[in-house]
Symmetry: C2
Subunit: 534 residues, 2 copies
């Protein structure tokens, strides 16, 4: 069973080593854990549904609760303290496309607002009804639509119902020798349709691409129309309608079917850990590799010095790590050292050739390869790390992450601006945060910047929320001031919507509004995601 | 000086060998060349401009003529016979962005329609005013806006004014060690802005990408707004506004500045010719290579048997070719043989590794590599081949090309459908055409299909036009019936606009119309390109 107030399956429990807790206590102060609200108590507080009955709609409080919040720190605070925002009035779990249409038509007829939902892993507030929304709210949870309906092995195109979650999708593909290769940290719980409509990016996007690259076509049910986009390899026939589905965040319609570009399972995959003496050398090597067009690279992930130190501290194995650090010190990688994980994926010969070329690049920047031990450990824990947040919360620490992307020349300034803004926001409240950053998705022209903040849970929901909001606002303002995108991989939702104008400009916002107004003139899907409701 | 009624610079004259002409006479019949209309005569027939005077607007007939037609066969017929469609009423050549705004505002004030123009190489009727358009028509020719205004060498981003033509753009980049690598056949005469707004694709798109891939951002002047898109490496912040500029074909605004993703000049580049015993083997090898993710591949271009034979026939060097064909015959590549050009581009070691891997693939499909002689010859003539059309017309032959893209499984059926439709359309008129095809742009999921038709010029403009229209209609209908895109690389213009619904669906068309209506409510840019004028 999935946790109702944390990450992942209840049967998976992460634990923190005592030295890790000591490290964090030193960084942000001794926390005071707060007991969680009980599920039953929280459900009992949920008001009656305002929807009329419908055989496909579940109005039980727990079902509504589970589809009305995501995984943002704000959501966690609400759930752990039981200080809920408004939840939806009912949840439908359609099992095929015709039911989605039935439900859209019914919602329109009874004057309800519809919020689509996939894996409910949003970290930017996509799922929660606005408090001021006068209509009853129906959540369309697509997670029962999860079948691979077609596989064209020759063209490497697979069609799925949009609600399929990551592991289920990969299992269906792997049985046929293929992979989508889309592995965001939320992989275990997130849905294909959600990835598309929020323009998701997976850890190995260097090989497999972002949602924009593998989303080949599909079907979207709009309030008053249905749009099917054929999976053409490329087209110059005017606007690309896929791009109107990507990033639409539930405002233009409900994506029900998704055709994706898949790849044969690779012969070989390994992750190599490379240390550099300092940040600038690491960035220079990463940039050169990102611009090299080497076919066998699947990931370049560069941690800054604090993240590198934090990773080594939280890894356990203190003896082995101390020995590693001594050896690295002899080779010039001391206190300010940074760690790059290089993902190598493809045919055996391609991976061999790529590794040879990549090694030549990292060595010119003082990089010291340490083989695959650290990398394989990272890979083994790539989806487990997020479970640590459960253990951290239980210990009284809360975690938020923020991310953006900029051209290469502005990367370092962005990292500094983000970390400084976060720290100063907490300092102003008499608190501290532990901030660290990695570059997780790289491109020839620039990089994403992904920062993690660990801070203490407050004594109350209000205190915790005030810390989160101060952090979020300060960092987002810093991102915008530095010319970064409002989001590289999480989307806009309601949390980022006020900042969208900085990136799109007034003319861009007006055009987006015009498209929404065209597709959804009656506001059936007017959740406030992406753009405020007019 | 550029030819007013054919391709390219007047100083470049292509000639056809006698055996090439004999080959074509055999294929389609003996032609009867028709003398060209004179420029002076044609200009004398152009009616007076209906625009009021403006210091930036040239109303001389020749200037208006030169910016009102493109390079489609229909345009050639009009120009060669002097049977002109309506031409624009004036041409402005703005030299900077502020002049574009001035001209847009002036056109709006005097009630004129504006048609933007770059290199005037459209083959789908982008430049010609509709006969029924009641307003005077102003052409905005951007070809004097051609400066590289910024180069960020670290992020490999270059910003140009949108009117820059291919050779000028490459010269400015090459001086700094970079290339855009966008080489469509129209390279010599086409403009950067035109490539973007029609979603152009260059011959080495496998390495350098389509316009969608290298267009990083820019500025568009809409009738009532201005939109600047920052060159972010990636973003999940809602709709990607670049995608609204791409394929907009002058209906949403005038693109004035373009930031492109550039690449360091490669160390090594070569083109290898590989023969296969037959079409199916060639397609299978090409598909496997396209799906291999080999970093050093820049081009895969597979000619079918007729195109292969035609290429060898028109190449001259009959003795050497006969010897080559004998050797190929011994190795299983006889009458039905097909020729694949493999472009290899990158660092020396990467190209070496890629060639080794690629050779292993083509050999498993019976491919016979013939080294770089044929490939280098192709590369040397890659922009010269189109000059042959001048010589062909002079000899009484006219040429049209049509193109689409489909997933791999439908490639062969598409080739057959296109060639058959073209041949039957001409047969129905008592004529013949010589049809041949290559796959020019390949993707993991499918391929473009590019067919060439050689037919006889008619005795009159009407007869020639009837042949062209019958061919064009039959082939386009075949493309649509087979589920191909209306255009893989030429755009929609007015010629393909009636077929756009087959690809976009009613809901898609309605959304495009809504966006046009929003950006251009008064129809200042309502040329009829992309979508009919309402």
């Amino acid at each position: 069973m999935r946790r109702w107030n944390g990450w992942g399956d209840e049967s998976v429990r992460a634990t923190l080593a005592p030295e890790a807790l000591a490290f964090l206590r030193e960084a942000v102060g001794t926390p005071q854990p707060v007991p969680d609200a009980e599920l039953a108590t929280v459900c009992a507080r949920i008001p009656d549904s305002r929807l009329p009955p419908h055989p496909l709609v579940d109005t039980a409080p727990e079902a509504r609760l589970r589809s009305s919040l995501g995984q943002s720190l704000g959501d966690w605070i609400a759930l752990r303290f039981g200080a809920l925002p408004r939840v939806s009035d009912g949840v439908a779990h359609p099992t095929h496309r015709a039911e989605v249409r039935t439900l859209l038509d019914w919602a329109q007829a009874v004057g309800a607002l519809v919020i689509p939902c996939g894996g409910a892993t949003s970290v930017v507030g996509h799922l929660t009804p606005e408090a001021a929304e006068p209509r009853p709210v129906l959540t369309l949870n697509l997670s029962r639509m999860r079948t691979m309906t077609r596989l064209d092995a020759e063209a490497q195109l697979a069609t799925f119902e949009a609600g399929v979650l990551g592991p289920d999708l990969e299992a269906q593909l792997r049985a046929k020798g293929f992979t989508l290769g889309h592995f965001p940290q939320s992989f275990e719980q997130a849905s294909l349709g959600g990835w598309v409509v929020t323009r998701s990016s997976g850890q190995q996007s260097l090989r497999y691409g972002r949602a924009e690259h593998w989303f080949a076509g599909g079907t979207m049910l709009a309030p008053q129309a249905e749009c099917t986009i054929p999976p053409l390899p490329a087209s110059s026939a005017g606007p690309d309608l896929r791009e109107w589905v990507l990033g639409s965040e539930g405002r233009l319609g409900v994506l029900t079917d998704v055709t994706v570009r898949v790849t044969k399972l690779p012969e070989v995959e390994r992750f190599v850990g490379v240390f550099f003496p300092g940040w600038e050398a690491g960035v220079a090597a990463t940039r050169e590799l990102a611009q090299s067009k080497l076919g066998g690279l699947s990931m370049l992930r560069l941690a800054n010095a604090v993240e590198t130190r934090t990773t080594l501290k939280l890894a356990g194995h203190a003896g082995a790590i101390a020995w590693l650090e001594r050896v690295l010190g002899w080779r010039g990688c001391g206190d300010g050292k940074v760690l790059l994980f290089v993902g190598l994926t493809g045919s055996a010969s391609q991976v061999r050739a790529t590794e040879r070329e990549a090694r030549a690049v990292w060595r010119t920047h003082g990089g010291v390869g340490t083989g695959t031990v650290l990398g394989q450990k990272w890979a083994a824990k790539r989806f487990a790390g997020v479970y640590l947040r459960n253990a951290l919360w239980d210990a009284g620490f809360m975690v938020d992450t923020m991310e953006t992307a900029v051209p290469w020349g502005r990367t370092t300034a962005m990292v500094n601006a983000i970390e400084t803004a976060g720290r100063e926001a907490l300092t102003a409240m008499g608190e501290r945060c532990h901030a660290y950053t990695h570059l997780s998705h790289v491109y020839p022209t620039g990089s994403s910047v992904y920062s993690t903040f660990v801070l203490r849970v407050g004594a109350t929901a209000e205190e915790s929320r005030a810390r989160w909001q101060a952090l979020k606002a300060a960092v987002t303002q810093a991102i915008v001031a530095q010319g970064g995108t409002v989001s590289h991989q999480h989307g806009v939702g309601r949390d980022h919507a006020p900042y969208l104008g900085a990136e799109k400009g007034a003319a861009g916002l007006a055009a987006i509004d015009a498209l929404i107004q065209h597709a959804d003139p009656n506001g059936l899907l007017a959740s406030g995601n992406l753009r405020p409701v007019r």
